[in-house]
Every structure is written in structure tokens, then in C-alpha cells.
Amino acid sequence: MKKVRTYYDLPAGTRSDIAGQLAAQVERLRRRLESVRHTFAVLSGKGGVGKSLVTANLAAALADRGFAVGVVDADLNGPSMAKLLGAGREPLEVVEDAVRPALGAAGVKVMSMDLLLEGEEAPVNWTGPLQESFIWRGTLEANALREFLSDTEWGELDYLILDLPPGTDRVIPVHGLLADLGGVVLVTLPSELSRFIVSKSLTMSRELGIPVIGYVENMSGYVCPNCERVGPLFESDGSSFELEKGVPQLAEIPFDPIFGRETESGRPGVLACPESRSARALQALADRVLTHFEGKSP
């Protein structure tokens, strides 16, 4: 066979410089987040544990204390942050090199796929044949998340919180984008099945070297809307992440239908019904998060 030159024998200037283009994307992200003091993610691995409700209320609680807070809705296919934080559906302004985020409750800055879709019922469809999109969908989603982080005009932020979708692997692309992610807050239910799945997220986070701030036990009980007494929602076997895995419990949040209804209406319960048990639990969560990052009790 005739010997031919290889790709690297060709003049560099005539190549696509894919590595250079990817490096430029990383640099763009780094520059954008220079003005963000702390980033952390809220994840569970399991769906239906109320993770987004926890994220929205935690963000609102921090913002209500005077911190500048942004939220990235990393759940591209099930976005809820804009709705839970009451961010309007006004067109997002595109400025020189960034898109201005929507403003939600207490001034929380929000970027969510929900704000970009053609309507409330529109799914996320990417160009290309739908039947084969499973091949490239993951890559596109990772790039969309990168753009949410790097192309949103966050400005000076104290906290940038990422609300991750269900799936124990979802922290991997986030870690790829944010090698210095400040930590994760795990959300679980007081059930064996939930802990079984969330423990996989815990293992994954630890393997990636991401600090685990602690875990939240959501729906730890049921708050009666009439007498406000708390009764059990799940039968407890007495086990917990704290005992089994050495992960600190940050809060126990009881299920309160009024609190949930307010948050789903775009008025985070921590602000709309601040005296409720759920709001007090979420404020305690905010205390613990602040202690973790600021190094002292608020």
C-alpha cells in the first residue's frame, strides 16, 4: 500500500480544530461563572420525590435573605423551575453575548427550557429524524445545559443552583461542565425504595469527588390542613442515610398540601406561607446550606 500522509501531517491551519473549538466553549463557561461564588446541585436519582419543589423553595429562601441566587433548570425534558418560581413567560432578551434570564420569586434568576418552548404543551424536539434521535439526543442535551450555564447573563451571584432531572447518572455531565461544583444536596423520601435509588446517586457523587452537603428527607410526614398535626406518610423502618452512609441530614420536610399548592402556583411556600411547618423546615435547610458554604451559622 502506498504510504500516505496522516491527518497530523497536514498544515494545522487547514484543520477544523475541533479541540480548539471545544476549549473555547470551556473558556466561555469559565468566564461566565467567574462572577458566581458558589454552585451546587439538587438531585435525587429517583423521580417524584419533590426535588424541584425543594430547589425552588431553597432558592427563594436564600434570595429572601438577600443573597443573589440563580437557578438552572437542568431537567430539560421536564422543566418546572420557571413555573414554580413564578417567572413570567415574557420573551428573554438576547444581548451582545448572552441571554438575560427570567426573574422569579424574590428576584431569583431562572433559566429553563420551559421559557424557550413554543407553548406549555410543547415537548423538547430536536432537529433530525425523531426515530433515531436517541443516538445524538444526549450530546445535544449536554450542549444545551452548557449553553444555559455559559450563555446566560447571570451577573454577580452568591449561589447558582442546578435542579437535576431524575436519573442517577445525571450528575456526570454536570461534573464534566463544572469540575469545581461546590456540592450536591440529595433529596429522598423516607422509604426504603427511595433510599435504595438515591444511594446510587450518593455513590456516583462520591466517586466523582463531589462534596455531598447532605440529604433532605422530603414528605417526612403529612400535615393535616385542619389541625396542622403531622402524621406519617410512609412506614419508617428507622434507617436513614445519616446512620447508614454517614451523610448529614439537612432537613425533614413534611408534606403540606397548602404549601405545595402555593409553590405549584408560582408562589414558593417559604414566602407565601412562611409560618407553615414545611416553610420552617426549608428555612432550616437554607440555614444548613449557608453554614456549609459560608462556614458559619447564619
Partner: protein, 148 residues
Amino acid sequence: MKFLCVECDAQMESFDKGAPGDGTLALMFRCPECHRQIAMLTNPQETQMVSSLCVHIGGRTTAEQPFEAVRTQLETGGESALKDVAAKEGDPAWTEDAEERLQRTPGFVRGMVRRLYCDWARDRGIDEVTLEVMDSAKADLGLEGGGM
């Protein structure tokens, strides 16, 4: 990806490309010495795989636009979800028919496409975007297909 004319041991140069809008892509190359021509044809799956990486084959010729991947790849983007701010200082004017053609671009990407045309024209000292300027920019920037 590059092509080498084995006979001449010369790197082939691209001289034309076509993206008819059906997801396929045709790239034409020519040997600078013997002038032999070849065409590389990709199917929609191959084209989409490369697009999903959000890199430009052949290298970037324009600055990366905000939300470029989302705006160019999201099929269900809202017509009025994004509002691009007013023109930059030094931007070229638009003739009526050029503006009319631009307005046929989906609203989700329109502002970004306008910016690409403006930057392309400004870099070449062109002070007015006409249909001809759009055609030249479109071919140069690889914006064929998709109504851009």
C-alpha cells in the same frame, strides 16, 4: 476530516457545498494539482451526529452566538421566546426585500441569523444587506437549507 489526492500527495481543497434542507450534506473537494474532483455525501444521521457536537467542520468563521446550539437545533422553540436587542453600532442597513426574506426565518432563530448576516457584511465593509449579499453570506457561512 480531510481528503488527500493520493496520486499527487496533495490535500484536496473544498470548493463547494450543498445543504438542500433534507438533512443531507454534500461537500465538494478538488485536488489543487491535478484538479480531480470528489464529493462527500452525508446522510441525515451523520450530519446530525456532527451537528450535535456543536462544532463547525472546517473551523469557525463567525463568533459563537448565545444559545447557538439550542437555537439552531431545537425544533419546538417558541416563535417569540427570544427577543434580540437592537442593532449594534456600525451594523449595515437592510433593503426591504432582504428584510422580507429574513422575516421568513423562524422567530426562534431570526435574531441570530440577522446577527450572522450583519457581522459577515460588516467584516467585508458592506453597508447594506441585499438579497445578493444574503446569498453570498449564506453560501459562505453554510446556512443553506432551513429557510435561512
